[in-house]
């Protein structure tokens, strides 16, 4: 191995990296190795050890740090430092460094998505016309399905209790998923609204670390919420959308704070108070639940989904570990949008495959769109094992068990 020369070290480098983050949180690192043991992937492929990466920063190895592929390999899942005794947050350091990147040189098509999102107001570049047409179509479908010709999607309703923010994929690719969710809302009879102006809660700048982009994407959404004067912001199942909304609000929102909740927290509440009735005898398969890191570890939502799942699923089994100790699916940190690292993503995903297989689950609830894409890839990559279990969103599974209220 090459010798490190003190003349090449920059004693001010760590100070500079610290400046990228609000909290100076890594230089007290003890190099104890807890993160190496905690990272699910430090032994999957090379250049994947958080301790080594931090060591380079702390030594002042500026050049080597910027050349270290760890910055883009890291899935930013935060498992390594969840209990770091020195309160270091490797994901925060990684994001800080990514934020220094020349936007043209960001791997994959992460920046393309960001740029399009800023331009179109949503990450899939859906036009306003297409969006409204899709909503119309969903409305028509639901009228038929519900047998209620009066049914209308509450759009831009001022003063509604809930503002529902979702993922552009729900409009462009999986409109049926949005339809499912709205059906649940209908069954529960809640007072909610969907904006026709700003509705995409996702923000890929969460992964690129570019804070100017982040604000350009998310601030208009919060402004739209404020304009409509709603009580609570409900975010779709998607983990990174949820994290973007919550973390982004804490970090960048200058207006009045308002509650941002995960849709599963709301659905659980509705099941508990009897507004939403589910038939416990419909879902009989063995089902497990994947915790998106952004939802569970980073934002603390892992109990509600389980309680919700157990309320109607007969054979629910947990993966081990789970909850705030879960393993990342292998595609965190924007991994899906960096095809050049697909081989590594596949290798990382094997750990998740093994975990699912150990449960014997026939169905995996994968709440996050990003995790869902990875899970679907894993089904293709590991057809003999993982390929046998089906990946679904929580709402889709709930729809199967949904008992629609009898009309008066």
């Amino acid at each position: 191995m090459e010798t490190i020369l003190s003349s090449q070290l920059n004693p001010g480098f760590r100070e500079r990296v610290a400046g990228l983050m609000k909290n100076y949180d890594f230089s007290q690192c003890l190099a104890c190795g807890m993160c190496t043991g905690g990272c699910p992937y430090s032994d999957i492929h090379e250049n994947n050890d958080p301790r080594k990466f931090l060591r380079k920063i702390n030594l002042g190895m500026e050049k080597e740090v910027f050349e270290d592929p760890f910055i883009w390999y890291c899935t930013m899942c935060e498992r390594c430092t969840i209990e770091c005794p020195m309160e270091v947050n490797v994901a925060a350091v990684v994001r800080g460094l990514r934020g220094t990147w020349d936007k043209d040189k960001i791997p994959g098509y992460l920046q393309t998505i960001v740029t399009e999102h800023i331009a179109s107001g949503n990450q899939m570049n859906v036009s306003q016309e297409d969006y409204e047409e899709t909503l119309d179509w969903i409305q028509d479908e639901l009228r038929e399905e519900l047998g209620d010709p009066e049914y209308t999607i509450p759009l831009n309703k001022e003063g509604a209790k809930y503002f529902y923010g979702f993922n552009a994929r729900d409009v462009k690719i999986y409109a049926n998923e949005l339809q499912t969710t709205l059906k649940l809302f209908y069954a529960a009879g809640i007072d909610y609204t969907i904006s026709t102006k700003r509705w995409d809660a996702t923000n890929v700048a969460l992964f690129t670390g570019q804070n100017d982009d982040f604000q350009a994407i998310s601030v208009p959404v919060w402004e739209e919420f404020t304009r409509l004067g709603c009580e609570q912001f409900i975010v779709t199942e998607c983990g990174h959308a949820f994290r973007s909304m919550r973390w982004g609000q804490r970090t960048f929102w200058k207006g009045e704070m308002f509650p941002i909740r995960h849709i599963m927290e709301l659905l659980l509440e509705l099941v508990k108070d009897g507004s939403l009735k589910l038939d416990p005898n419909v879902v009989t398969e063995v089902v497990t639940y994947h915790d998106p890191c952004n939802t569970a570890r980073k934002e603390g939502v892992w109990q509600a989904p389980r309680e919700l799942a157990r309320s109607f699923i007969k054979n629910f089994v947990d993966m081990n570990p789970n909850g705030r100790w879960n393993y990342c699916c292998g595609a965190g940190g924007g991994g899906m949008a960096m095809p050049e690292f697909n081989e590594k993503r596949k290798a990382k995903g094997k750990r998740k495959v093994d975990q699912v297989m150990a449960t014997g689950a026939e169905i995996v609830i994968v709440p996050c769109h990003n995790c869902m894409d990875q899970f679907n890839d894993l089904n293709k990559w590991y057809p003999d094992t993982k390929g046998k279990s089906k990946n679904v969103h929580m709402c889709s599974l709930m729809e199967r068990a949904l008992i629609l209220p009898v009309k008066n």
Binding site: I4, Q28, L30, M34, L59
Partner: protein, 1463 residues
């Protein structure tokens, strides 16, 4: 006052008491000892912790000038240094310490099983317990913790936990008695009570509540199996007052029960032809067979209650007459009148009132129902009616209720059983009319309801739905919608809503004096237990009324919430277990007759169910202990007290708490049973622990083949706000690993996961090396991420970790030990608040800088782990230092409060024939239950020279000791033999009695027939008795040869010699002078100050130079201190109390004690180009050149650690260098952040709060690079550049530093003079050349020879703060000699027969205490120095030396005695 009786508190108390102060030793728990008794072995000597502590416990416990106050906590302080007033709150012990003999009979009898906190909850103890076997006071204590939730929830306050615990032990009869003490209907209540106790039961928070009610029934069933012979409570002596009770229901009879037991004449008037009220005529046979009610009514009659049946108020008797004829009247007429619905058709004969229906059946009247029965109502009466109708043969039975299942008031199990029996429920239905058909009832018309808003009862009110009338064909209706009292005959008595009698809710007094009312008659229909509660309350009021007392004073309705035991937090450790359910008759069978539905609970099952009780409040007050105690020591009503003590100074030594590892869920503690804490592991290893010293896993008792230790659990962790290092964990983990390996004959894989191995104490590094090299303990440098269940065997534990090379590894172990850190206990924090002293950010009482023991309140000092995590020697040292400091403050008061003990002159027994008295102890039943004591007493009487032989219940009790003293005088005894328990605890006591009786203490002989006979031969009474006789005979033979031993006394020169004028010596001199003693301070150099002169700044930024100047000036100016600079000790003679030291210039100094504080020296490196390149300096040199341009201009500075330390030839850690380098590195980095500052180290040893400095240095950008001793950094010169190469272990790459300055952390080496002084004062050095203390743990500043002490680096490397503490400690210890006018020899010393002595020097060489000297060609032993160990006597080749009281003749006599009988 010393607060906290761990080793710090005990040492401080002993030192204070020995230096002439009276001490209050205040301890929070029931025994002194603290944490040390819990530990198995101690590092680095592997001594048994309990064995070395035990003598100190006895000494502190028995010391005349130490008053131990247990279960006590200071709650307030006023005044100032020298004159404090401390308020101390003392919790009741419930055991009289003077009466308790510690025999343990109460503990055996106690049914409660509570977690044994001393054993870290690994096993259980009783609610009456002694903390540990060797505890002082040697007395039990009762653990009471409020009122159990079950007892608090019972309206009548029945002691549910008490009887459940008795049932658990199979004491059914006593359980029944305990219930019967409170209520007269245990059998009835055990069947039909609504059991609020079970709703409150904390077991319900774990799985299901304990089935308390059925346990009560089990107790009653057992007692009544032989009802004739049940033991009824004793009534008080008869009184002349008479009380009339109207109504023989549960309320009336409960009052009668209480009143008759108080001695009153009680007559109960009952309207019905049977007694028992609703119990008898309201509850159907299948729930409560009448025979039980009749039996329990009969018991009341046996107690003397007169019951007059068929006496109805207003009909047969008049209230006015009763009031005239009786001194008080209690109205308990119940509520027996059904309430009419007011619905058309109600007058039809087939529409009956439910209560009437049930009553008539109970009175054996003929009552019939039709085929289709509707019961109106949703209460328990409705269920009773419905289920009775089923049994009477109805085909269809409906319960018609106006609300829903949610609101129904009947008990859940009643509803369930009714449904099982085929009863149908018509909910949300109100009767509108009863329709006749052919003159008979044909149908019920009802209207359907919906639920509206909540009504006054809080339940949602039914609202009729118009047009919803429905008809239900029925031929019988039973109305059960409520009852009200019958007001007939009440005359002027005020009535309230629903005909109820108005009475004061608390006292149950009516407006009419002497007239009371209670039960359903006052409240409307309620439960049986509430009725009995009312009866009890009324009885208490009547008793007060008849005694002219205030009826309300001090009484409350219900139990205040704060009196109820709070739920515990560790319920997750309780093993889940379903409640035992009694057998139940099958629904199909039971609906056919009135046989009891619920069968009896098998006694074994009842005991099993009672096991589930969590003993919430600790003591259950079942009083088994009181019954078991033969010395009448237990008093459950003992009050607590608050006392005020006047003291001059306070030493705080409350110790620490182990970190609660549950907070770090990733280690699995509390979840995975084979993950234990280090303190639990100590108990597992301990021979006195829960597994008797067998290394087993708590989860399954299996012996582990591999154990992992995880370091820094709750230490060095910012996330949990424990940023400090706990200092002791590395060493204790290494020790535990070594001991565990010794415990495992089949080999044990022991692995320690750590970050920095902090073995910085004296002798620690060698221990670490031995653990690695000789014992094969594995050391892995990694902070592991988590502990998970094993892959194949989930009882094993899997650890995934990043190893030193950065590889991820998986390893499974059988067991994991968490090395939990030390934290400040909440009690200690409270104490600090009370004492108004400041704590640091971690809630420790970090002593004031460079004080060692000072707090920010003058007169209050701190010692032990509360002053910051520290090990035992440092704790003991600090305790003595606090004594030194307190002694300086209170010098004037010394000797003013202590009392000595004077004994009458000894009688000269020389030449007398032995006259032996033998005293044999029964020890309550401890000895007597196995050994036939009278037989032993008789037997002893026949032994030679025995003139008296007696037995006694407790020979150690005060009266028995007085008796012994009298017996000695009366019988002119000159020898005494006691056959009882252990001489270790009791010999001193008996010897004092001999002294009081004019006998020399050595005329006493003791033999232990408890441990050696009754305890070890419990099942063999005859053999045990025979052995006791043998032991007594041996003792008698030996006693006959005993001779008096005279103590030698010498005077004390009240001056100290301190050798060494560094900080330790200066501090010791200063502290001794402060205590009023003359001091001679000898310093080799021309100036005082030692090495500290070369230091500028302490680790916490202390200005060392000015502090040192102050100290030197003070010492120099002190008139009591004579300073001899430029002088050396040349010769020494004398011994403790009377040394004469000659200096080099022939001046002589007379002194009573000597303190060696000779310091140390810096090692001169010959590595890393030191001496060859000016840029390579030592840390000490760097300290002097911080402002030099060579430093200020340096771009890259490299520190290299362990230069000369931890190396072959100098294998110890120099302790101070890590902190010193980190401190300097931090300063250099702060001065110029652009500079590269590197610290190359092996383990960073910034222990305790110094860890903060290390963290600060990392944050500031100092780079730490660890190196292995096999691959040390290389320092080279190339082209004038100074190059340092070291391998970075994390990146696995070499780091090449172009250094401008290299600073070496050079070792500390002992002072060269040590060897010479060692010879002069005859005190030993260790292998490294530092002075060797008397005991590594408990005598850290003493030498084995009395009167010589050490302080500072002379003992081992240490920092300035620690030097100061040890200087004060040496002064504190020295004062224990100087405070005395005379020193007395230990009683038992060795003596030389000069005629046999060949002056061979064997004894001189062997004696660790320097007692023998040669004079006139023969050895003589200085009695004051001799410790009586007997080594010299054993080794003397010519048998010239004998140890008094242990001579051959005595033992030969003893053995002769043993075989005398056999021949």
């Amino acid at each position: 006052m010393v607060v906290g009786a761990g080793i710090a508190g005990i040492q401080a108390s002993l030192d204070l008491a020995e230096s002439g102060y009276f001490v209050y030793l205040v301890e929070r728990t029931s025994a002194i000892g603290g944490t040390m008794p819990m530990l198995d072995k101690t590092f680095p000597t592997n001594d048994c912790s309990m064995c070395i502590l035990s003598p100190k416990l006895v000494e502190a416990g028995r010391h005349r000038n130490i008053k131990v106050i247990t279960l006590a906590e200071p709650v307030g302080i006023s005044g100032e240094a020298g004159d404090f007033k401390v308020t101390v709150k003392v919790q009741p012990r419930y055991v009289d310490v003077d009466k308790c003999k510690g025999c343990g009979d109460c503990g055996q009898a106690c049914p409660v099983t509570a977690p044994n906190e001393f054993n870290q909850g690994l096993n259980t103890r009783g609610a009456v317990f002694k903390r540990y076997a060797q505890a002082f006071p040697n007395a039990f204590a009762v653990d009471k913790n409020g009122l159990s939730p079950c007892r608090a929830a019972c309206p009548a306050g029945v002691n549910a936990q008490g009887y459940v615990q008795l049932v658990k032990k199979g004491e059914f009869q006593k359980a029944w008695q305990l219930v019967y003490d409170t209520i007269p209907f245990p059998a009835a209540c055990g069947r039909v009570c609504v059991h609020p106790c079970q709703e409150a039961c904390y077991r319900g928070r774990v799985d299901e509540p304990v089935n308390i009610m059925y346990l009560k029934r089990a107790a009653a069933d057992f007692a009544y199996a032989d009802a004739e012979n049940v033991r009824l409570p004793e009534a008080a002596p008869p009184r002349r007052e008479k009380v009339a009770v109207v109504g023989a229901g549960p309320a009336g009879l409960a009052a009668a029960h209480k009143l008759v037991l108080k001695g009153y004449g009680v007559t109960v008037f009952e309207a019905l032809p049977v007694a028992g009220g609703m119990l008898r005529v309201g509850i159907p046979e299948y729930r409560l067979p009448k025979k039980w009610v009749d039996l329990e009514v009969g018991l009341l009659e046996r107690l003397g209650v007169t019951i007059k049946l068929n006496h109805k108020l207003g009909r047969d008797i008049q209230l006015e007459n009763l009031r005239q004829d009786y001194d008080a009247v209690f109205l308990a007429v119940g509520a027996h009148q059904g309430i009419r619905l007011g619905v058309p058709g109600e007058e039809l004969p087939q529409v009956m009132q439910g209560v009437d229906f049930l009553r008539r059946l109970a009175l054996a009247e003929k009552v019939e129902v039709g085929q289709r029965v509707a019961v109106i109502g949703g209460g328990n009466t409705a269920m009773d009616c419905a289920r009775t109708a089923v049994r009477l043969g109805a085909e269809k039975v409906y319960v018609v209720y106006r609300r829903t299942e949610e609101e129904i008031t009947a008990a859940r199990e009643e509803i369930r059983e009714a449904v099982e029996e085929g009863v149908e429920f018509v909910m949300l239905a109100s009767p509108a009319a009863f329709l006749a058909q052919g003159g008979r009832l044909g149908a019920l018309r009802y209207v359907k309801n919906r639920l509206g808003e909540p009504d006054a009862s809080g339940r949602r009110a039914p609202v009729p739905i118009p047009g919803s009338e429905t008809e239900l064909p029925v031929d019988t209706v039973l109305v059960a919608t409520g009852q009200r009292p019958d007001s007939e005959g009440l005359g002027e008595v005020a009535l309230g809503r629903g005909n109820t009698i108005v009475a004061d809710p608390l006292t149950l007094a009516t407006d009419v004096p002497g007239l009371f009312a209670g039960g359903d008659a006052v409240t409307g229909p309620k439960t049986v237990i509430e009725a009995m509660a009312a009866g009890n309350r009324a009885a208490a009021s009547i008793d007060r009324y008849l005694n002219g007392l205030d009826m309300a004073q001090g009484r409350t309705l219900g139990v205040p919430a704060e009196d109820v035991t709070p739920p515990r937090t560790d319920y997750d450790r309780v093993v889940r277990e379903k409640a035992v359910v009694p057998p139940e008759a099958e629904a199909n069978l039971r609906r056919k007759d009135f046989g009891e539905v619920t069968g009896p609970l098998d006694p074994a099952l009842a005991m099993q169910e009672a096991q589930r009780c969590l003993s919430c409040s600790g003591c259950a007050e079942c009083l088994e202990c009181v019954r078991a105690c033969t010395s009448d020591a237990i008093d459950h009503a003992m009050p607590g007290e608050t006392i005020e003590l006047k003291v001059g100074s306070v030493i705080l030594a409350p110790g620490f708490s182990p970190y609660d590892a549950k907070a770090l869920e990733y280690y699995g503690y509390g979840r995975l049973p084979n993950v234990v804490t280090s303190l639990e592991f100590e108990r597992i290893l301990s021979a006195s622990g829960p597994y008797a010293g067998h290394l087993k896993r708590p989860g399954d008792g299996r012996e582990p083949a591999s154990i992992a230790w995880i370091q820094c659990v709750g230490s060095r962790n910012r996330r949990v706000e424990h940023g400090y290092c706990s200092s002791v964990c590395c060493m204790y983990a290494v020790k535990e690993a070594v001991i565990a390996k010794e415990h495992s004959p089949r080999g044990l894989d022991a692995t320690i996961f750590f970050m920095d191995m902090r073995t910085f104490g004296k002798g620690f590094e060698k221990y670490y090396n031995r653990a690695r090299e000789e014992y094969g303990v594995n050391f892995v440098r990694s902070r592991i991420f988590e502990v998970r269940p094993g892959v194949d065997d989930p009882s094993r534990l899997m650890i995934r970790y990043g190893d030193e090379e950065g590889q991820v590894r998986y390893q499974e172990f059988d067991m994991v030990v968490l090395s939990v850190g030390l934290e400040a206990s909440p009690e200690a924090v409270r104490l600090a608040q009370t004492m108004e002293v400041s704590l640091n950010r971690y809630n420790f009482l970090d002593p004031a800088p460079l004080s060692g023991v000072g707090t920010d309140r003058p007169g209050i000092y701190v010692a032990g782990a509360f002053a910051g995590p520290r090990d035992i020697p440092e704790t003991v040292m600090q305790a003595s230092a606090a004594v030194g400091a307190a002694g300086s403050l209170l010098a004037e008061a010394r000797g003013s409060l202590v009392t000595g003990r004077t004994f009458p002159p000894e009688r000269d027994v020389a030449g007398e024939e032995p006259r032996i008295g033998v005293f044999v102890c029964n020890c309550g039943i401890n000895i007597a239950s196995v050994v036939d004591v009278p037989e032993v007493v008789d037997y002893a009487r026949g032994l030679p020279n025995v003139v008296l032989s007696q037995g006694s219940l407790y020979t150690c009790s005060q009266d028995a000791l007085v008796n012994m003293k009298n017996a000695i005088a009366e019988n002119n005894l000159n020898r005494v033999v006691v056959a009882s328990c252990s001489p270790r605890t009791h010999r001193g006591l008996f010897q004092e009695t001999l002294r009081e009786a004019n006998l020399n203490a050595e005329l006493f002989e003791m033999t232990n027939i408890r441990d050696q006979c009754s305890w070890v031969h419990q099942a063999e009474h005859e053999k045990a008795t025979a052995k006791a006789k043998d032991l007594v005979r041996m003792a008698v033979y030996k006693a006959a040869t005993r001779a008096p031993v005279r103590k030698v006394s010498v005077s004390v020169t009240k001056a100290a010699l301190v050798v060494g004028g560094g900080v330790a010596g200066l501090t010791a001199a200063d502290c001794l002078s402060g205590q009023g003693f003359e001091v001679h301070l000898v310093e080799r150099e021309d100036r005082l100050g030692g090495l500290a002169r070369r230091l500028s700044e302490g680790p916490r930024g202390e200005d060392i130079r000015s502090r040192l100047r102050e100290l030197v000036d003070r010492v120099t100016a002190d008139p009591r201190i004579t300073v001899y600079t430029g002088s050396e000790v040349a010769g020494v003679s004398g011994y403790v109390g009377n040394f004469v030291t000659t200096l080099g210039d022939s001046r002589t100094i007379k002194h009573g004690v000597t303190i060696l504080a000779t310091g140390g020296e810096p090692y001169t490196p010959n590595e890393y180009l030191y001496g060859q390149d000016a840029r390579v300096v030592t840390n000490l040199e760097l300290d002097g050149m911080m402002d030099d341009a060579r430093v200020t201009g340096a771009r890259n500075v490299v520190f290299i650690q362990c230069v000369g330390s931890r190396e072959p030839g100098r294998p110890y850690c120099s302790r101070v260098c890590c902190t010193s380098s980190v401190k300097k590195a931090l300063r250099l980095k702060k001065d110029d952040p652009a500079r590269g500052v590197f610290v190359l180290y092996r383990d960073i040893r910034t222990y305790g709060f110094l860890e903060e400095l290390y963290e600060e240095a990392r944050r500031a950008g100092v780079i730490f690079v660890r190196y292995e001793p096999e691959a040390k950094p290389v320092v080279e010169k190339a082209d004038g550049r100074l190059l340092v190469t070291v391998r970075d272990p994390i990146l696995g790459q070499d780091l090449l530093i172009e250094a401008d300055l290299v600073s070496l952390a050079a070792a500390i080496v002992p002072a060269p003079d040590n060897a010479r002084l060692s010879g002069l004062y005859k005190v030993p050095l260790n292998e490294d050349g530092f002075f060797l203390e008397a005991h590594m743990k408990l005598r850290p500043v003493d030498f084995a020879s009395d009167g010589v002490y050490m302080a500072g680096v002379a003992h081992a490397p240490k920092n300035l703060e620690e030097n100061i503490a040890q200087g004060k400690a040496a002064a504190g210890r020295a004062a224990t000699i100087l405070a005395k006018d005379h020193l007395e020899s230990h009683g038992v010393v060795a003596v030389v027969d000069p005629t046999k002595c060949a002056a061979c020097l064997t004894c001189v060489r062997l004696c660790p205490f320097n007692a023998p000297r040669i004079a006139n060609y023969a050895a003589s032993i200085e009695a004051v120095l001799c410790q009586g160990c007997g080594t010299c006597a054993g080794e003397c080749p010519n048998k010239a030396i004998t140890l008094q009281s242990y001579n051959d003749r005595m033992y030969v006599a003893s053995v002769d005695g043993l075989f005398e009988q056999a021949q």
